[in-house]
């Protein structure tokens, strides 16, 4: 083996090492967080945690039922809103690149993606809470949807641009109108990427407390009505974590664990359904 070749092997070995090192630097904190949340939170997950309303501090017992239900309701509503508007905007950007609305739309999406989450709560406060006159799960869903729309839009636009143009042409050549081609041929072909975008958006929205502080507001009593104030897991987590009570801290860890597990499960299930 000559010196030149040996030097190249050495460099290859060195670079591979750096790549592995970089991967580890990213993965280790992530695994550490998951491990720590699991260890701290697992003790709080009793049957009462899932079936009881919260108890006053010091009493022990009590659970997260209103927050679990509230998270399900608010996040589902937010996901539907984000899917409808986010996918529509993504389709417009990707499939009609010359549309006169697009420069404005792109600007709005870019700005929205860069705004702090708490401002979305402020917007929802002004457009939903003020007119209704009271806090509500719905206003929280609107705040979260505003946060999620740019993620869905960018994912949709990106994946639609990867769908070969030939598919559109094949549809048009059958005498199908453009909207029908997009709806029945292009979007189904892109569903995997769009679903990934929706899951990313859900993960982002479901973990937010700030936009909900003055929209969903929180509610210690169980309600299924999105027009009433609602509790959610991140809100509960925030309130319990900054409290001085030991048993509330334990419950906050439980909420964190449940939140992480639920989002991972939703993402996993969505992917599996798609593969069928």
């Amino acid at each position: 083996m000559n010196a030149n070749l040996r030097r190249r092997y050495l460099r290859d070995w060195l670079m591979q090492g750096l790549v592995f090192l970089g991967t580890a630097v990213v993965l280790v904190p992530l695994l550490f967080i998951l491990y720590y949340v699991l260890v701290q939170g697992i003790g709080a997950l009793s049957p009462a945690f899932f079936t009881r309303p919260p108890a006053p501090p010091g009493e022990g017992g009590g659970g997260m039922l209103p927050a679990i239900v509230g998270s399900l309701v608010v996040d589902s509503l937010a996901l539907v809103l984000a899917a409808v508007f986010g996918i529509a905007a993504g389709v417009l950007l990707a499939e009609y690149p010359d549309h006169p609305l697009n420069p404005l739309l792109r600007l709005v999406v870019d700005v929205m993606a860069g705004l702090p989450a708490i401002l979305m709560g402020l917007v929802a406060f002004v457009v939903v809470v003020k007119p209704l006159g009271h806090f509500s799960g719905l206003s929280g869903a609107v705040a979260l949807a505003l946060l999620m729309i740019p993620i869905v839009t960018r994912a949709t636009e990106g994946v639609l641009k990867l769908i070969p143009w030939e598919l559109t042409e094949a549809g048009l050549a059958l005498g199908l109108p453009r909207w029908r081609v997009i709806l029945s041929l292009v979007l189904p072909a892109a569903r995997g990427g769009i679903l990934t975008g929706l899951m990313l958006a859900l993960a982002r929205g479901a973990g937010e407390a700030a936009p909900l502080l003055f929209t969903a507001f929180g509610n210690p009593y169980l309600t299924f009505n999105p027009l009433e104030p609602m509790d959610t897991l991140p809100l509960k987590l925030y309130v319990y974590a900054i409290s001085p009570y030991e048993d509330w801290h334990r419950q906050a860890w439980g909420a964190a664990l449940l939140l992480a597990a639920a989002i991972m499960a939703a993402s996993f299930l969505a992917r599996r359904t798609l593969r069928r």
């Binding site: 598919l167 042409e169 094949a170 549809g171 050549a173 059958l174 005498g175 199908l176 041929l185």
Partner: protein
């Protein structure tokens, strides 16, 4: 000749920006005959073909001048809906384009189902008829509901043809439909054309001169965006009038 024209172009030019891809082509397309377009790469034959059913409409920067008559009416006239034109003038592309999320059956009837035909009996009939015409029925009749992407390349191309035929177009445009296929699949598609022309008018772009000679009744020779010569296939291949045609078909260039 005395045969009726199904389509006809009059002084047709197609521009990409300022560059003309096709210049002043006037070509008759005879009813229920196979017309072949031949010529070297980049001579404008595909560009010409795509202008016949307004496939250029969605490509920015492409401009079509001149007239394309279908049964005597200009398909580029104001008020003509390109969707309607494309229902009457179907197209098969160079590469097979099965709809990836659909089964074989759904692919074949896509053109009907997606415009609102719901009658299952009618869809089943249309699917069988189209698949038989495309010589694919025997190979897929037992797995109509399997994903279309599981078919071989040759089968996928015949599926694309069946899908185009299911909407019963009057004219079928084929852009090098066999260039990506093996000889056996090519043979199957060439045999198909012989049957198809009993009911459908066919325009086929081909790189393969032997193929043009085998399948077509009329041939047009394109060079540098212009149509050099048009005539009955046998005459054009045995006794070309233009020296450039002769040079091309005898293999001296292209």
């Amino acid at each position: 000749m005395g045969e009726p024209y199904r389509m006809e172009t009059q002084n047709l030019s197609v521009y990409y920006g300022r560059t003309p891809g096709v210049r002043g082509v006037s070509l008759p397309i005879h009813d229920r005959r196979v017309t072949a377009l031949i010529g070297p790469s980049g001579c404008g034959k595909t560009t010409f073909l795509r202008s016949l059913n307004r496939m250029h409409d969605l490509t920015p920067g492409v401009r079509v001048e001149g007239r394309v008559l279908l049964d005597g009416e200009d398909v580029y006239a104001p008020g003509v809906d390109p969707v309607v034109v494309r229902r009457r003038v179907g197209m098969v592309f160079q590469r097979p384009t099965p709809f990836p999320t659909m089964s074989i059956f759904e692919n074949v009837v896509a053109g009907l189902r997606l415009v609102g035909v719901r009658d299952r009996h009618r869809l089943a009939e249309a699917a069988e008829r189209a698949l038989r015409m495309a010589a694919l029925w025997d190979e897929v009749k037992d797995r109509l509901h399997a994903p279309a992407v599981g078919l071989s390349g040759g089968q996928q191309q015949r599926l694309s043809i069946a899908r185009a035929l299911a909407v019963e177009p009057e004219v079928l445009l084929m852009d090098e439909p066999t260039s990506a296929l093996d000889p056996i699949s090519t043979q199957a598609i060439e045999d198909l054309l012989e049957d198809l022309k009993k009911t459908v008018t066919i325009v086929i772009v081909t790189h393969n001169m032997q193929q043009a000679a085998r399948v077509s009744d009329y041939t047009a020779f394109f060079l540098n965006g212009e149509m050099v010569e048009f005539g009955p296939t046998e005459r054009l291949f045995t006794n070309p009038e233009d020296p450039r045609t002769e040079a091309y078909i005898t293999g001296r260039f292209g």
